[in-house]
């Protein structure tokens, strides 16, 4: 181990590592940003070659890119925090589906004869929103409590919730879609509102992670859980808080997507959890915990959006798109593993 190095050698080695390490940390988001620009430029060039038009200089396309990533981006903000604690959340896609169904069922118009709750129609918009967020909170709380108190791996706990919440979404209306929301509920997902919600959530949690005790403890737990524990951090309570926030943000995404589509179906949000994890990992959030940032995830989301929209722009078949997306997720994780190895090797 390098820790056992003789003192007078250890000092300069450590100093060198410090400079190097500091640089590497600072450039983490910058790397992602360079990646984003690079990928966009590749599509720009390919666009001129194969389509005879610009990829980037098309405001309609750009707004579609942003809109596409906004909903999953909201989930990715929560997932980022979970991953920083050293955990993972596989349940967010299913929570999207369940929340979309439940929220929509309380947001239906009275003129629709087959409403889920015929006596509870035309409710003010806050009611379906709060009920939806409550569903996400409950699911996230259960995830967090399971992980914190039974010590089962986050992978298993949230996998269980993934299946259960999806089942609940189907059971809720026996598989029937829920439609016809009130105008005020429908307004949540229209136009660029989802983007505004995404950016506001991103800003909020950027501040929380960077400048508050909550953020410090989130990083500390992912960095060294036993150190966090003996330092007096209530690891259990904190994990429940982080998973609850992730649940609420998944629920928010469910509300937005239901509102935008004017309908809710039990199958909504399938694979969103993986897309959200991919955004975070592409943005430099380490799956081994302790490192990453909201800024990184937002850039990761942008990269994700550019790639998907670039494929569509090049008229690549949807089948290829999914396969390539899978490869990109694995590649991002492989890159993270190599970064880890390099880092521990350097120390």
């Amino acid at each position: 181990m390098a820790e056992r190095t003789v003192t007078n050698q250890a000092e300069p080695v450590a100093a060198a590592a410090t400079v190097e390490g500091g640089k590497r940390q600072r450039s983490h988001e910058l790397n992602a940003l360079i990646g984003l620009v690079g990928i966009a430029l590749i599509f720009e060039i390919l666009g001129w070659i194969f389509q005879g038009q610009s990829f980037l200089f098309n405001t309609q396309r750009l707004s579609i890119i942003i809109l596409q990533v906004a909903v999953v981006g909201i989930i990715a903000i929560g997932v980022t925090q979970v991953i920083i604690t050293g955990g993972i959340d596989l349940s967010s896609g299913s929570i999207v589906g369940l929340t979309a169904m439940v929220a929509m069922s309380f947001a239906q118009v009275g003129t629709y004869p087959r409403a889920v709750y015929p006596n509870l129609t035309d409710l003010p918009v806050v009611i379906p929103v709060l009920i939806g967020l409550g569903v996400g909170l409950a699911a996230g709380f259960i995830n967090g409590a399971l992980i914190a108190y039974t010590r089962i791996p986050p992978f298993i706990a949230t996998l269980g919730m993934m299946v259960t919440a999806r089942g609940a979404a189907k059971w809720y209306t026996r598989g029937q879609p829920v439609s016809f929301p009130t105008d005020s509920f429908a307004a949540i997902g229209q136009g660029m509102t989802p983007v505004v919600i995404f950016l506001a959530i991103a800003l909020l949690f950027h501040v929380a992670l960077k400048y508050t005790v909550y953020g410090k403890h989130t990083y500390a737990i992912g960095s060294n859980e036993s150190a966090a524990r003996v330092s007096g951090i209530s690891v259990e309570r904190h994990l429940i808080l982080v998973y609850s926030i992730a649940g609420v943000l998944a629920a928010l995404a469910g509300i937005v997507i239901a509102s935008r589509g004017l309908t809710a179906q039990a199958g909504m949000g399938v694979m969103y959890e993986l897309q959200a994890i991919a955004m975070a990992v592409i943005g430099g959030v380490s799956l081994s915990g302790g490192r990453g940032s909201i800024v990184g995830t937002v850039i990761g989301a942008a990269i994700f959006g550019v790639i998907i929209s670039g494929f569509t722009f090049l008229r690549l078949s949807a089948y290829y798109q999914e396969m390539i997306m899978g490869a990109i997720i694995v590649a991002a994780v492989v890159a993270d593993v190599y970064r880890q190895r390099y880092r521990t090797g350097a120390r």
Partner: protein, 259 residues
């Protein structure tokens, strides 16, 4: 206070891990201002003893008295709240945080209280960390660097500075210099001497007998989960300590390498 000058006292402290009797019937006393060492072979029960008195684990049987009162620490936080700080063998530092964040981990300075969402007073923590490191004579080039990028010695010094700056009643160090080089060991030993001047009692778990004789007033020897004896550092010698550690009365050479 009715503590008769005794800071920490254990009576019949016992810890079983299943069938393993890691610690049996330990009666230990620490007086005010006293620096003592706990020595013993691997598996003698030294670290087990430390874990019981710092709340990391709960004893199977026996009593712990702190400042004249019986205490039941359910976690290290309980011990910390009464003024006991510990430096554990596996450095309790978060690699991905910088020096001030580690020193103030779990007791961050904030501007105003908003529960977990209180805003951090980074400036104050930075300043107080500087002061804490200066007091202990530790030089770290850039406090804003993550702990992961520091040498073993620097990391250990941060851990010790943290304990030293918060400990008001008692400081416990479990093998603080085991992984350090010569220069770094000297630095840690100087910190310990500084604590003696301040009158803060210390329990030092160490394998290094030379270090023990240099630093402490009393030596408690553990053997096979039991306290084999207590020796005054200035009235004993390495041979006596070693024979207590090993349980062999004779055959220790006066120039044996472990002294």
């Amino acid at each position: 206070m009715a503590n008769d000058g005794i800071v920490l006292k254990t009576e019949g402290l016992t810890k079983y891990y299943g069938g393993v009797h890691a610690l049996e019937d330990a009666d230990f006393t620490l007086h005010e201002g006293e620096h003592v060492a706990i020595v013993g072979d691997n598996g003698a029960g030294k670290s087990t003893f430390v874990r019981q008195i710092t709340g990391v684990e709960q004893p199977t049987a026996g009593k712990v008295f702190f400042d004249g009162k019986e205490v039941h620490f359910t976690s290290p936080i309980d011990a910390r709240d009464v003024g006991i700080e510990a430096v554990f063998q596996n450095l309790a530092l978060a690699d991905d945080l910088d020096v001030p964040s580690n020193i103030f981990l779990g007791r961050e300075e904030t501007y105003f209280n908003l529960g977990p969402f209180s805003f951090l007073n980074e400036k104050k923590m930075y300043k107080r960390s500087m002061e804490a490191l200066e007091r202990t004579g530790v030089k770290i080039p850039n406090l804003r660097n993550n702990i992961a990028n520091m040498s073993g010695g620097q990391r250990q010094c941060v851990a010790i500075s943290r304990a030293a700056s918060f400990a008001s009643k008692l400081i416990i160090m479990d093998e603080p210099t085991a992984a350090l080089g010569v220069q770094e060991t000297t630095q840690v030993e100087n910190i310990i001497r500084g604590l003696k001047k301040q009158g803060i009692p210390l329990i030092l778990v160490s394998h290094n007998l030379r270090q023990v004789f240099n630093l402490v007033d009393k030596i408690w020897v553990f053997r096979r989960g039991k306290i084999a004896g207590m020796l005054e550092a200035d009235k004993t010698d390495g041979n006596e300590v070693v024979s207590l550690i090993t349980g062999v009365k004779t055959g220790v050479h006066e120039n044996a390498s472990y002294i």
